[in-house]
């Protein structure tokens, strides 16, 4: 199954690089990628090379990384707050990131002008999560329900500020804001990829190591404690890792919704509840899904591009409703 998913991912990424306003044959795609990776082989003509290597390849890689990060983060948060409706944004990450991004987009001439949108979004996400952690504590421990409710409250608080800024924005700024909030990998550049790759891969690997303990967390805090899990330290560590993943992804790709909610449930249906299998498979499935969604986002309405969030929700919402009807274990929660 992981091998199949990996093959699917490679295939999806190749096709995604190949298809666009100009379709590049699959063989040329590989030749150009091989040329850049190994330095050997014949160089393609400069235009095709630029299309493949400078524009499409980084955005496809970023889409894969974002999908993987969001799916993994979703799996972890659903287990940690013991709620099937949890997604990567349940702790207010997206509202914080949005505020940071909107501040920079609408106040470019102000004090924040020098700051990049990504940096500001990451700072906003960090601030929101820190606030939620502070509010979600009780007697020094992070309580799941309190965390979720704090996340909702902080989300609304930040949304108020974001909405106010949007009202004052010019139409051009507003369009940028909308696009950012719905997520896009159109602006991907090679320079930003090493950091994102590093965070997503190491974060996912670390979370896989926690897989056995994540499984124990599923049976409730008391039983998990009796199974030998220090639930409070584990929860804090997992939330920090998941927030780092989400914050990084949202900083570079905006607020892509639904991936982190639907991919974990989809993979659970086929792989069961064991996080040691669930996490790597969700990462691969999330990557495949977002690569394909990104491909659609730039081919459905050519030459316009659609934000990813519109398409992920368009496919995600009906799927989610179907899942609700089908999954009997959701009734017991």
């Amino acid at each position: 199954m992981p091998a199949v998913l990996l093959a699917l991912l490679v295939a999806a990424m190749t096709v995604a690089v190949s298809v666009g306003a100009v379709t590049v044959p699959l063989g040329d795609v590989w030749r150009i990628v091989g040329h850049h990776l190994t330095g050997g082989g014949p160089a393609a003509d400069p235009v095709t090379d630029q299309i493949v290597w400078t524009f499409r390849a980084p955005r496809v890689v970023l889409a894969a990384l974002a999908g993987a990060g969001l799916a993994v983060s979703g799996v972890v948060l659903q287990a940690v707050v013991a709620n099937p409706l949890a997604d990567p944004y349940v702790l207010g990450v997206s509202s914080g990131a949005s505020l940071g991004a909107v501040l920079v987009i609408t106040l470019t001439t102000g004090a924040l002008g020098g700051l990049g949108v990504s940096t500001a979004a990451f700072a906003g996400a960090t601030g929101a999560v820190a606030l939620v952690f502070l509010l979600g504590r009780r007697a020094g421990r992070l309580a799941p329900t309190r965390l979720v409710l704090s996340g909702v409250a902080v989300g609304y608080l930040f949304l108020a500020a974001t909405s106010y800024l949007q009202l004052r924005a010019t139409p051009t700024e507003l369009r940028t804001v909308m696009f950012w909030m719905l997520g896009s990998v159109a602006g991907a550049k090679w320079e930003q990829l090493p950091l994102v790759t590093c965070v997503v891969l190491t974060g996912t690997a670390a979370l896989v190591l926690f897989g056995r303990r994540l499984n124990a967390l599923l049976v409730g805090d008391e039983s998990a404690a009796a199974l030998g899990v220090d639930t409070h330290r584990l929860r804090a560590a997992l939330l920090l890792l998941a927030s780092l993943l989400t914050g990084t992804v949202i900083a570079v790709a905006g607020g892509i919704g639904f991936v982190g909610l639907m991919i974990p449930h989809l993979v659970r249906l086929t792989s069961g509840a064991d996080h040691r299998r669930l996490l790597p498979r969700s990462a691969l499935a999330g990557a495949v899904y977002l690569v394909l969604v990104d491909l659609l986002s730039r081919t459905l309405d050519r030459p316009n591009e659609l934000p990813l969030g519109i398409l992920t929700a368009l496919f995600g919402a009906p799927f989610f409703l179907w899942l609700l009807r089908r999954n009997k274990s959701l009734d017991t929660v």
Partner: protein, 327 residues
């Protein structure tokens, strides 16, 4: 393994929940923890399976303070079957649930070993749930579910079992079967039980908890006196050993008046309890575990159902003494 709870104090939300609680579970013994709702039973258990750290006092398992051990090391000694958790939002399967018992035997990098598989397989067999291995836990009946949770605890290979209302919501046959199962494991057990009859039947000793304090501890009949039943549980009741060797609790129809004063005991007179002196052929053998208890099936010997009063025919000498004389 031996459990020693010594002088445990605990306050939750500035309210004392446990006050100077001390008790002991000798190796291999089954000790029942009884008490009305809110008496602190489950909280006491939480201090034993290392979920709540007591403010004062020590909990020792096999001689070591459990808070001096890591969470994992403590869980390799103590396993618990609790009321919480049913597999969360996911459809966990029986094998996966039982395999969770191996969590404490691994660090971050541990992969499943042959030892893990053996422990899980043995636990599935012992609890008679091998046939259910592929089923989803949410689809099981109450009795099956409890067996699976017990299998998870056994897969942990503990020296001490902690059970919180293991037999709640189970039909009578399932209760007896589960209790027999625990007896056959030979693992030291501390069990919270609401059903006093079941507690009397299963346990070597009882500890009665009332408002966070131990009010009685010892052999079953020494704890379940009419005085204690009245004072702690607010019922007019008495316990006695019947001809088949089983201790039964008999309740009056009416509860006692509220705020029972210790003087109001409905029984005739405090019966001189036959001191748990072991009979000649029933002494505490090398194993503290008595054989399987006589099952009260449709009784072969016709006896009148016991009324409120203690049964008239007291066996002169119990043929089977379920209380091993524990130190």
């Amino acid at each position: 393994m031996k459990l020693t709870v010594n002088g445990v104090h605990l306050t939750l939300d500035h309210r004392p929940v446990l006050r100077d609680v001390s008790l002991e579970v000798p190796p291999g013994a089954v000790v029942g923890l009884v008490g009305p709702n809110g008496s602190g039973k489950s909280t006491l258990l939480r201090t034993i399976y290392r979920s709540l750290r007591p403010r004062g006092g020590v909990v020792r398992v096999d001689g070591d303070d459990i808070w001096a051990l890591s969470a994992r090391a403590a869980a390799r000694r103590t396993a618990a079957v609790l009321q919480d958790g049913n597999g969360g939002p996911t459809a966990m399967r029986v094998t996966e649930m039982v395999a969770l018992g191996r969590t404490a035997h691994h660090g971050l990098l541990g992969r499943d070993t042959a030892e893990d598989l053996r422990a899980v397989a043995e636990a599935l067999d012992l609890c008679g749930v091998r046939d259910l291995a592929g089923r989803e836990v949410v689809s099981l009946s109450g009795g099956e579910r409890q067996r699976v949770l017990l299998a998870r605890a056994l897969a942990q290979r503990p020296g001490l079992l902690v059970l919180d209302e293991l037999t709640n919501h189970l039909d009578i046959r399932a209760r007896f079967e589960l209790m027999d199962l625990i007896r056959t494991t030979g693992i030291s057990t501390l069990a919270v039980l609401h059903d006093l009859d079941l507690a009397a039947r299963l346990c070597d000793r009882l500890v009665a908890l009332h408002r966070g304090e131990v009010v009685a501890a010892g052999p079953v009949l020494e704890v379940l006196t009419p005085g204690l039943l009245g004072e702690v549980f607010g019922v007019a009741a008495s316990a006695a050993r019947h001809a088949d060797g089983v201790v039964r609790v008999t309740y009056a129809a009416e509860p006692l008046a509220p705020e029972p004063s210790p003087a109001v005991t409905p029984g005739p007179e405090p019966r001189p309890e036959p001191s748990p002196r072991p009979g000649p052929n029933s002494g505490p053998g090398p194993s503290p575990r008595p054989g399987p208890e006589p099952r009260p099936t449709a009784g072969p010997e016709p006896r009148p159902t016991p009324a409120l009063e203690p049964p008239p025919e007291q066996p002169p000498e119990p043929e089977r003494e379920p209380q091993p004389s524990v130190s």
